[in-house]
Structure formats: C-alpha cells, structure tokens
C-alpha cells in the first residue's frame, strides 16, 4: 500500500530575483497511515512551509507530492480544496477561528461546505466539542474563550470531518505547559483511538516525546529522524 504522504525532492522558493529565497531545498519524506510524527527544527528552517504544502494550502515550486499515491501537483485549485475538505484537518498556531462566531458554528463550518444537513451538523459538532472537553462552551465566541480553549475548538473543527490526516503547526506554541500537555494528550488519543495520522510541528522536546517519530529540520532539508518507539516513555 502506498504511504499516506510521500514527498520527493520538494522545493519551495519565495520571491523573485534578488529577493529570492529557497525555504525548502529538496525534501524527501514518507509518512505511513496511522503515524504520529513530530517535526522539530530551528525557526526559519522551513517546517511551516512544508506543512502548508502538505495541507495543500500552498503549492511546491518543484518536486513531487503524492497523497495516497495520487500526484497532488496534477490537481487544480478546486480539486485541492475538495481534497482538504475530504481528507485533511489543519490546526494553526494562531487558532484561526472565525470571530464573533460561536464555538459550535466554527466547528460546524467544514460540515456546511461538505453539504451535511442541520441535524447531522449539530450532532457531529457537539460530539467533536465533547471530545475536546468543550461541550459546555458550545455557545461561546472565540473572544470569550481562553487560548487553550480556542485551540481545542480549532482541533474540534479539524477532526469533525473525521479526516485521515491531521496537520498541526505549533498547536501549543501560544499555550502554557499545562494546556500544552492537555492538547498533546488529545492528539495522542485521536491518533490511537480514531487512527488519525498526526503530523505536528513543535519547538518543545517535551511535546515531541508524545510522537512516535521525530523529524529534525535544518536549512530547508530533513536533517535526521529519531524514533521514540524504541524507548517507551
């Protein structure tokens, strides 16, 4: 079976001429279905750039990205949007919730675009909010929630469609260590009970320990890979 994700020689160049900057210099990466992978590396090493490409929020400048064996490079804008809708969940460092919109309606949003009816949307959204422990906060807007709560709403929104791949770019970057551990436990649980593949960028070794594998980035390239499986915590 093809790996869920396969990057071969993926490059990404920003800008043109003098200001040109190569953020990814030929990344090779394989992630199998069901993996829990942490990505670490110094700031500016290209982690976010790669996550955005994996999430189809951005397109590579060169190389090949195969998702479930299909070449993403051959998809157009709308097909990429449909791929995000069907298979992907994205959690950002900055939460990216819709302002003035209740937690429930934020979580509902992907289901609206998927075309689910009102009842289904309500049921699934409440279930997702319950899973992240926010059932009692469904009616609150982001400005009424703490950072940790907002990030959990964002996770609920990412998992409500039951995606195959959850991409999380520094999901605990804005949180204190206690909230961070809660988020990590949530991701671990999703990975183990729902079988969702999780790819997570983090700066903190404490958080990376939750993953099975740690991919180290440096200067737009994969530097080395650690496995946590050998040494159970």
């Amino acid at each position: 079976m093809a790996p869920l994700i396969q990057l071969s020689h993926v490059t990404k160049t920003f800008g043109t001429g003098e200001a040109q900057f190569q953020a990814l210099k030929g990344v090779d990466l394989k992630v199998a279905s069901g993996d829990f992978v942490a990505i670490m590396g110094p700031s500016g090493s290209g982690k976010s750039t790669m996550m955005n490409i994996l999430g189809c929020l951005d397109v590579p400048s060169g190389g090949q990205y195969l998702f479930k064996g299909h070449d993403v490079g051959s998809l157009d804008r709308d097909q990429r949007a449909l791929l995000r809708r069907r298979y992907l969940g994205f959690v950002f460092q900055g939460y990216n919730l819709l302002a003035r919109t209740s937690a429930l309606e934020n979580v509902e949003l992907p289901l609206i675009y998927r075309g689910d009816g009102r009842e289904v949307r309500q049921t699934l959204s409440m279930a997702a909010l319950t899973k992240v422990g926010l059932a009692d906060w469904a009616g609150h807007t982001p400005s009424e929630l703490s950072g940790g709560q907002q990030q959990r709403v964002a996770i609920a929104r990412a998992l409500v469609t039951n995606p195959e791949l959850l991409l999380a770019d520094e999901p605990t970057g804005n949180l204190d260590s206690e909230r961070s551990v809660e988020i990590m436990e949530l991701l671990t649980q999703l990975n183990q009970t729902s079988g969702i593949t999780v790819l997570m960028v983090t700066h903190e070794p404490d958080m990376a320990r939750f993953a099975e594998r740690i991919i180290h980035f440096r200067d737009g390239l994969v530097d080395h890979v650690d496995s946590n499986k050998a040494v159970p915590a």
């Binding site: 929020l57 804008r77 709308d78 949007a81 995000r84 809708r85 992907l88 675009y113």
Partner: protein, 406 residues
C-alpha cells in the same frame, strides 16, 4: 448548496451588525438623497407647468407704447379702438379670438362690505382667448354687450371680500353690487386662478361688458389692451409679425420708424419659466448624483476597511475545504442582500422626506417610478461591485496567503 450559502451570508450579516449597518447606511443615504431631490425637482416643474397652463396657451398681449409699460418720451401713443379689434379679427390668419380690454379702478360695495379692485371691460371673447371657467352663472349675452348693460362677473377674491356672510356658494348670483356708485347685477362667478407668479392676484377682478365700462367708468372708447388668442396650429411669431404689419399700417408708421405699440407673447413667460425649471432640475440632479457618489465612496470605504479581516476569513474558509466559488457566492449574496435592503429603506425614506418637504415647498406630492428604480439599481450595483471585487481578489489567493493577510 445555494441554500447553505444563504445561511452563511445571513449569519455573517448578523454577526457583523455594525459593518452591515454602515454599508447599508451609505446606500440608504445615497438612494434617499437622489430620489428626494429629483422628485422634488419634478414636483416643482409640475407646479410651474400648472401655473403656465393657468396663463392659457399662447396669448398675444397687444398694448400701446414701446416695450414694457408706456415709458419713453414724446407724445403718448394713442390707445386702440374697436376698429383695430375688428381689423385684427378679420384680417389676421391663425387667431382664435380677439378680446379688447379697458380697465378702471373701482370701489365695490355690497351691503356693509366694500373692496377696492379693478374692473376689466371686455367681451365674451375674453373667455375663449384663455381658459378661465366659471364656477357658477354665465357669461355675457350678445345683447348685454351691445347695449352695455350693467352686469358683472366676479373674481374669487372680490366675491370673498364682498359676500362675507357665507351661505350657498352661488348666493351672490342675482345680487346687485355697486361699482363707483353704478348698480350692477352679478351674473357669474369665476373659478380661482391664484397668483400669477408675476404681478399680483389674478382673482382680484370684476369682469364687465366693455361698452358698460367705457360709457360709465372710463368715459371714452379707448381700448388699453387687446388679447389675441393664437390658434395652436399656427406659429405665434408669424401671427405676431402679421399683427405688427397691420397695426403699423393702421397707425401710419412708415419706413424704419419704431413701433408705438408692443406685442407680448405669453409663450415667452412659459419659455422662461420652463428654462428656469429645467436649470433647477439640472442642478438638483447634479447634487443628487454627487450624493450618490459620496454614498458609493462610503460603501467602498467600509468594504475596503473590512478587506483584511475578510481576507483572513476567506483564508480560513478555503483552508477548511471551501471551494473559491462557494466563498464568492456567499460574499455576493451578502452584498446583494445589504445593497437591496439599503435600496428599499432608502426608497421608503425618500417617500417620507418628500411627503414632509413637498408641502413646505408648496409643490404636489409625487412618486416618480423611473428615479426610484434608477437609484435602486445604481446603489445595488455599487454595493455589489464593492462587496464582490475585493472578495474575488481574496478568493484568488493561495489559502495560506489569504490567511497571512495583515
């Protein structure tokens, strides 16, 4: 899909009430201003046209003297007489009637009331030269004119001031009033004509057979003014030239000597008034157009201010799996709903404003469908364009670039 788009659009409007309100307000002000101004402009034009119509169409006023009044030095040019009237009636083509006029200031007395007014001596032709219906009674009979009987028709102002007792509207008919001591039978009552807009109350008048006025009030056979009705099928300047030729001949004015009489065409008044109103309407329309543009700029500002916020929103929607078209449709629906709402409120507001202002300006209340529709369409278009195009730009971005918008 369209249904969920509508849900999303309405949710978004509800969540951003202030932004929605300001957008709508811009449209409301623009639409209401344009409609109010243009409607009042048209109402004014209508009022002026009504006044013009009250003058009757195309009457030539023939008077002795050069130009307005009887100014200038030298001997006073002589008045006309009955033969001039007959000559014009018989020899000039394209006229409907000629009414002579001899006037005198009088004091009218009825029982305890008295009133200073003007007696206008004329013939029954006076009423065919210009439309001025009677509300009661009748005009002169030919034998009354020939014999110079003391009968009179009262203008409304005179009636009101002499017959203060009230009673039936036609009560004055058959009564006798005294004009400078002459007892006179009231046979008719004129309808109200109102202010002439140039020179006084047209209803402050008593109409009598010209012979009666000449014999018993002015004491001569002079005719001060001739009113010539022009047939609509004829060109009034041509008729005017013909009358000038005839009168020059009759008054023995030869070569390049100046006319000692003048002919004033009431069409000139109409033309002047019409030109003034057209100018007025033009100015008002320009002001209205400016307010629509200002309203449009207001809308544009609000839309542009919210572009960053909205660009991020579009980024979020794209990131969680919305197709660009779905996002765009939502924004378009939002813009249409707000613009149309603003347009409808603007139209309603305009009617209220017109209802309040029209009586103050003494013009009739009007509903002009054309301008209502036009203002609505323009406002809706502005709202849609400014709501749609920033959204289209944002939806064309990579999701990640839309998310990064600052």
């Amino acid at each position: 899909m369209l249904f969920t788009t509508f849900i999303l659009a309405f949710r978004s409007i509800r969540r951003h009430l202030m932004r929605s309100f300001l957008t709508t307000l811009g449209i409301i002000i623009g639409v209401a201003a344009v409609i109010t101004m243009v409607t009042l402009g048209e109402a004014t034009t209508l009022a002026v046209q009504k006044q013009i119509a009250s003058l009757g169409n195309n009457i030539l006023l023939v008077r002795p003297g050069q130009g307005f009044g009887r100014g200038g030095g030298g001997p006073q040019p002589s008045d006309f007489d009955a033969r001039d009237v007959a000559a014009i009636r018989d020899q000039i083509a394209g006229i409907t009637a000629v009414a002579p006029q001899a006037s005198s200031a009088v004091t009218a007395v009825y029982e305890g009331s008295n009133w200073t007014t003007t007696v206008n001596g004329t013939t029954a032709d006076f009423f065919s030269v210009q439309p001025w219906p009677l509300v009661a009674g009748r005009s002169f009979e030919p034998d009354e004119e020939l014999a110079g009987k003391a009968v009179c028709i009262l203008g409304n102002t005179v009636r009101k001031n002499l017959f203060t007792g009230g009673g039936e509207p036609d009560a004055p008919l058959g009564q006798r009033i005294r004009l400078n001591g002459i007892s006179c039978l009231v046979i008719g009552l004129l309808s109200t004509r109102g202010q002439a807009g140039f020179g006084g109350d047209q209803d402050d008048v008593v109409i009598m057979p010209i012979k009666t006025v000449q014999r018993r009030l002015t004491g001569n056979l002079d005719i001060r003014v001739m009113l010539v009705g022009v047939d609509q099928a004829y060109d009034s300047p041509t008729v005017q030239t013909a009358i000038t030729g005839l009168l020059r001949q009759r008054r023995q004015i030869t070569g390049d000597k100046q006319d000692d009489f003048n002919i004033f065409d009431t069409a000139q008044i109409s033309a002047t008034l019409t030109a003034t109103t057209t100018l007025l309407t033009g100015i008002v329309t320009a002001v209205a157009a400016i307010s629509l543009v200002v309203g449009g700029i207001g809308i544009m500002n609000i839309m542009l201010v919210s572009v960053t916020e909205r660009t991020r929103e579009i980024g979020i929607r794209l990131a969680i799996g919305a197709v660009a078209n779905e996002v765009l449709t939502q924004f378009l629906v939002e813009a249409i709903v707000l613009s149309c709402l603003g347009g409808v409120i603007g139209i309603a507001l305009a009617q209220v404003l017109v209802l309040i202002i029209a009586p103050l300006m003494q013009v009739p209340w009007l509903f002009v469908p054309r301008i209502n529709l036009l203002a609505f369409l323009i406002a809706a278009a502005i709202g849609m364009v400014f709501g749609y195009f920033p959204a289209r730009r944002a939806a064309g971005l990579n999701p990640i670039d839309a998310l990064r918008a600052e």
